[in-house]
């Protein structure tokens, strides 16, 4: 029982970490390409916050894996190396040495940047989700998850405000910006449903009191989207087929592209250091 609990805590925390890392990486691709300097800085600041959150989660996962005596626990390939010293997980091995199918991020976070409308809408969808999730996670029985949530929530509040403003600015902007926002909604909406479909480890986390069941966040999330969409002159989509699988490691081809770049150095020059 103890082992199962640790295992699920690891999976759950990895999922939280992967969401932040992958979206953070996507946002970082804007570095030097933003529409104006100030917004280039804004999106890369958000990337930095997300990658910082990912680091906190990965460090915690590594600690759990290394502490555990159960060889079944590290259900990740990221405890590589032959020497004794290297047979340990770290934030770096978890980010750089796991394969695509081991990543548990939601499909939404790996979607390509597209244009600015798509990027800010993706951020908006994710930030609302993160905002309500972290509010619950602050009350986690696991003190480290609660601490990371408390810390991250302050940053996510900025992200949510910033991305909401952009959705309104573009949705209720010019004819072209409105058109682009409509297209972004079409492209991203099929990946929003997955956020609220609880994976095994999320159900377990909710039951044990260290995590939240995402299905309980759906109403609040939809309420916020409706509120901002009405200000942005955008219709709330209905009856769109939803894609799922990311939380269980079944990803779109986009994740492989991200990892090819993200993990390139460690894969090509193993153990290289900065």
């Amino acid at each position: 029982m103890e082992n199962q609990s640790t295992n699920q805590l690891i999976n759950y925390t990895l999922h939280l970490a992967d969401n932040s890392l992958i979206l953070g990486h996507r946002n970082s691709e804007w570095c030097g390409h933003g529409p104006v300097l100030e917004q280039d800085i804004a999106i890369t600041n958000i990337a930095l916050d997300l990658i910082g959150q990912a680091r906190n989660f990965y460090q915690y996962v590594a600690q759990l894996i290394n502490k555990s005596q159960n060889t079944q626990v590290p259900r990740v390939s990221a405890v590589g190396g032959d020497s004794e010293a290297k047979k340990r997980a770290s934030e770096d091995t978890l980010a750089y040495l796991r394969d695509g199918h081991e990543f548990k991020n939601c499909l939404l976070t790996e979607q390509p940047n597209g244009d600015w409308a798509k990027t800010v809408l993706r951020q908006f969808f994710f930030s609302i989700y993160q905002y309500f999730l972290l509010e619950e996670l602050k009350k986690s029985k696991d003190s480290q998850l609660a601490a990371i949530a408390e810390k991250s929530l302050k940053e996510v509040t900025y992200h949510l405000r910033w991305s909401s403003e952009w959705v309104i600015r573009l949705g209720d902007g010019t004819e072209e910006s409105h058109e682009r926002m409509l297209k972004a909604v079409d492209e991203l909406w099929p990946y929003t449903g997955e956020l609220f479909e609880a994976a095994n480890y999320e159900q377990f986390a909710a039951k044990e009191g260290f995590g939240a069941n995402p299905s309980s966040l759906k109403t609040k999330w939809e309420g916020k989207v409706k509120q901002i969409f009405s200000e942005a002159a955008l219709a709330f989509p209905k009856g769109v087929l939803q894609q799922t699988g990311g939380k269980e490691g079944r990803h779109t081809e986009n994740l492989a592209n991200i990892l090819a770049e993200l993990q390139f150095m460690q894969r090509t020059y193993p153990d290289s250091v900065w």
Partner: protein, 164 residues
Amino acid sequence: MAATTEEKILSVLETVIDPEVPVLNVIDLGIVRDVVLHNEDEVEVAITPTYSGCPAMDVIALNIRIALLTLGFKKIKVNQVLSPAWTTDWMSEEGKQKLKDYGIAPPTPKQQVCNEKLFSEEAIQCPHCNSWHTHRVSEFGSTACKALYVCDECKEPFDYFKCH
């Protein structure tokens, strides 16, 4: 004697500067949360990041270690704590004055826009000419902890250390 050692620790920590805002030390910033003196060889310091992704934290932890080595400690532990989350309310008044002298508007004492309200703007005083006639260019600046403003009076752009 113990009090003297603690005073020494405090003054040596005041020499550890934030590499990204080089007028503030770690005490001014309020990121040193605890110092535990185990014995004359062993000390433990708890620090908290300003933002989760603050890239200065690793350098700051290293510099705290180096500073404490100069006091002759042999076992130094620098731990990161996340809760309670850092807030600009922990910044010293001295630190705020140093920021202003350096040309960065210090954080406002009341948390006015640390919420999800849209399109709101804080009234920020220009650190150069003291005018309140300023406006925000971007709520994200050169580092995670700052926003970009410009003064409508003296026309100078400036950084604002945003309340958090």
